[in-house]
Amino acid sequence: MRIFSNTSIDFLGRRKIAYAISLLLLLTGLVSLAVRGLNYGIDFRGGSEVVLRFEQDVPVGELRSVMRDAGVSGTIKQYGMDRSFLLSTVFNGDTNELKSLISGALNSHLKGNPFEIVRIDAVGPSIASDLKWSAFKAMGAALLAILIYVGIRFELKFAAAGVVAIFHDVLIVLGLFSLLGGVFEVMPLEMDQSIIAAFLTIAGYSITDTVVVYDRIRENIRNRKPSEYEQIFNESMNRTLSRTIITSCTTLLTVLVLFIFAGPAIRAFAFAVFAGILVGTYSSVFVAAPLAFEWIKRSKAPVKLRGSQKA
């Protein structure tokens, strides 16, 4: 079976439209980031989260009022599993106290409905700032490593365009998180460590896609004149298009499986990776390669990609 064989799409010719779409997406995200901000999870803001599971369903309103009367501050939301609720509150070093407060309130007010505390996460403020810092370092180091590696394997302009594409992808997903944060009850889309993992996965995926296109460009560009570059770029992208789409499909399939089956702890991560792969696939064709093209077109000198001379 073949879906995308022998396409000849003029990608570069449509790059202005693509830039407009990208800018629109980026701007929407940035405005949302500025206005709505991000929903930070306890990993980054510090705090305690308790997941309660009841034997029979309880209306969330009733649970809220019981907790409020008991003096447990914080928010209660439906958790993404049956009969479960997530209580999030400020961090205090004494989990036992929190637990006994909760148990006391529930045992006296919801007697006929036994419950279980299935998960407790508590992150102190110093840890939260540590995690935040680590996340920045990891992202920064990943971008730098990619810039250096692609710079060595291809050329700096190509590497820089690839890193811009990663920025593009991560920022759009970040904007999406800001825009949709808190909208879905079962999927709060909070920024936590798993989302950082998603961003690094997206970065790796995005550059993989980009590198495959670059690789084909390198193969075709040997001994050709700068005037033919546009045609070479387009041809290379068309030749790799099938692979790009198929790999995206298999990866999206597995991410979709994670989203559906892996439970609430993984859901936001799967959502981020799903969105990231869509954007990353788009950006390798419509952002990274066109940007590299613009740059070498302006620099006038014939491009010398490392490794393109041999073989």
Binding site: A122, S129, I146, Q193, T250
Partner: protein, 591 residues
């Protein structure tokens, strides 16, 4: 074609190695299944006894499940370095305390190095560190070095003491490591009573024997504090309750007793910490509350207040043995302690010199009991009573035996997963694995036919390698780790997709299947290498900067990606070579 046999051998070798290292995991699983099959507990006990070595071996070498799948606690504890350094300072004054308090606030909110914060704070005030620490002739950097060493020692000691406590409590396979210069990471799988564990871990276990002040002193001091606090404060008080004085919370009764109602405990103890109150204390004295409330006649619960000397007569360092038991009446739990020879002779001297007086037994700043010394105690025995339950007595025994922590240790991060949620996670993880695998396998066959089949064989080997590497290196599999495997399955076929698309192109250009195969593999290789290296780099950085659960994800992603370089290239190529030699491939083989 020397290469050919070599590659085939390599594939067989890797496959066998992967299977071999998963044998214990399989054994563990099947032994568990057999155990479940028994109906009576006696049968299963017999089975365990008969197969003890086998079970133990399988459990040790098998694939381990992470805390989130098995249920358990992940704790990060932090040594209170501010407290440690305050202990080391030799002429503390109000200014010093104020600076350290400020640093303490900063340290709680960030992860900055405490010694740097301390140095910066003192430099800002233009005070040399040597004014308070070590030798006056030391330079700031020398003192920083010494404090750093002190902090490192304290961390190691704290880890050992915590390990002792956990070992004595009895937890199967705990993991206790240090991180940075003030954190201890504790992983406790399958804890049944987490509340007790937290209590056991957080106490400093600093035991002190302190003399109570003379008769009448308590009443006099409380009077003075009451007057001082009732006086309209110059700062314009923000707290009305405080202006009513101490006696609205503290009841004095009898000649030498005072107590606080349970509900007012926090309030009163905050009040007693205010500077106005502290300044009214007699020299070398301290007001301490009882560890436990007593039931009064009217049913209210009261915490007694004690005025004790600040300097302890004796500290817990001399304790060599502790034993939880029931007291003479056989109902009240207590802990018997014995001392080393130095402690014994000191204890004899102290008790001998203070007959008729009361000595408070203070643990972590709370008074457990304050018995009147009846006679000289020559044998170095002492006892803690005023304990509520035997369980608490047992925990006290554990912490006293393990020794006191060099400084208080706090829980700064906790992730606890109950066993029932762990079971849910396992189910969710297995479902994701099965569905993810099926989706990719079906898709590949559908799209690439024979080629897809070969890629699927490679995928099976890939997953086997990930699991066997985890089992072989004693790493554990967590839910994020499973997510990593599922995601890798989607990405690992990328190498095959690259190759197959290339082969299709070559076939379309009119090459024979043999030459299309070799061209496809050769030409796709550099793309595959570049794309894998970038994915590996991202995963590696995630592993380096991430913690706990995220590292599990990064590890499986790394192993899977690296393994796919082998499985997707070498293995599939070998399969095609075999098929071609048997004339089983045509130009239609790649769909």
């Amino acid at each position: 074609m020397k290469n050919k046999r070599y590659n085939l051998l390599l594939i067989v070798g890797v496959t066998l190695l992967a299977l071999w290292s998963l044998v214990p995991t399989w054994k563990e699983y099947s032994l568990g299944k057999q155990l479940e099959a028994f109906s009576s507990p006696r049968d299963s006990l017999n089975f365990v006894l008969n197969h003890r070595d086998e079970i133990e071996d399988a459990r040790q070498k098998g694939l381990k499940l992470g805390l989130d799948l098995k249920g358990g606690m992940h704790l990060v504890m932090e040594v209170d370095q501010i407290d440690l350094f305050m202990q080391k300072a030799w002429n503390r004054d109000a200014k010093f305390d104020a600076i350290m308090e400020e640093v303490g606030r900063q340290a709680a909110a960030t992860d900055a190095d405490v010694i740097d914060l301390v140095s910066a704070a003192f430099r800002k005030q233009n005070i040399r560190l040597s004014r308070y620490f070590y030798d006056i002739r030391n330079s700031d950097s020398e003192i920083q070095g010494k404090l750093r060493k002190e902090a490192a020692d304290a961390l190691v000691r704290a880890r050992e003491i915590i390990r002792n406590r956990i070992d004595q409590y009895g937890v199967a396979e705990p993991m206790i490591t240090t991180q940075g210069n003030r954190k201890i990471i504790i992983e406790l799988p399958g804890i049944s009573d987490e509340n007790r564990m937290r209590n056991l871990l957080k106490g400093t276990a600093k035991l002190e024997f302190r003399l109570l002040r003379e008769k009448g002193a308590l009443q006099r001091t409380l009077d003075a504090i009451n007057t001082a606090l009732s006086a309209p404060s110059s700062s314009g008080s923000s707290n009305d309750a405080a202006n009513n004085g101490l006696y609205s919370f503290v009841q004095v009764y009898g000649s030498d007793n005072a107590a606080v109602r349970a509900e007012n405990r926090e309030l009163a103890s905050d009040m007693l910490k205010r500077p106005e109150a502290l300044s009214q204390l007699p020299p070398d004295s301290e007001l301490l509350l009882a560890a436990r409330a007593d039931e009064a006649d009217d049913g209210s619960r009261l915490y007694s207040l004690y005025l004790v000397r600040k300097t302890p007569e004796l500290t817990g360092g001399v304790i060599t043995e502790a034993k939880a038991t029931f007291g003479s009446q056989g109902v009240q739990p207590e802990v018997l302690m014995s001392m080393n020879s130095e402690g014994t002779s000191k204890w004899a001297r102290i008790t001998g010199a203070n007959i008729g007086k009361r000595i408070a037994i203070v643990l972590d700043g709370a008074v457990y009991s304050a018995p009147v010394v009846q006679s000289k105690i020559p044998n170095g025995n002492s006892v803690i009573n005023g304990i509520q339950s035997l369980e608490e007595a047992k925990d006290l025994e554990i912490v006293l035996k393990a020794g006191a922590l060099p400084a208080p240790v706090r829980i700064v991060e906790e992730r606890t997963v109950g066993p029932s949620l762990g079971a849910d996670y396992i189910r969710a993880g297995l479902q994701s694995l099965i569905w993810g695998f099926s989706a990719v396998v079906v898709f590949m066959i559908f799209y690439y036919r024979q080629g897809g089949l070969a890629a699927d064989v490679a995928l099976v080997l890939n997953v086997l390698i990930v699991l066997s590497v985890l089992a072989g290196f004693n790493a554990s599999l967590s839910l994020p780790g499973i997510a990593g495997i599922v995601l890798t399955m989607g990405m690992a076929v990328d190498a095959n997709v690259l190759i197959y698309e290339r082969i299709r192109e070559e076939l379309a250009a009119g090459r024979s299947i043999t030459s299309a195969l070799s061209e496809g593999y050769d030409r796709a290789f550099s793309s595959i290498l570049d794309s894998h290296v970038t994915t590996l780099a991202a995963a590696f950085l995630l592993y380096t900067y991430g913690i706990g659960p995220i590292q599990g994800f990064a590890v499986t992603l790394m192993i899977g990606t690296a393994a796919s370089l082998f499985t997707a290239i070498v293995v599939t190529r070998e399969i095609f070579r075999l098929l071609v030699s048997k004339n089983l491939m045509s130009s239609k083989s790649f769909g």
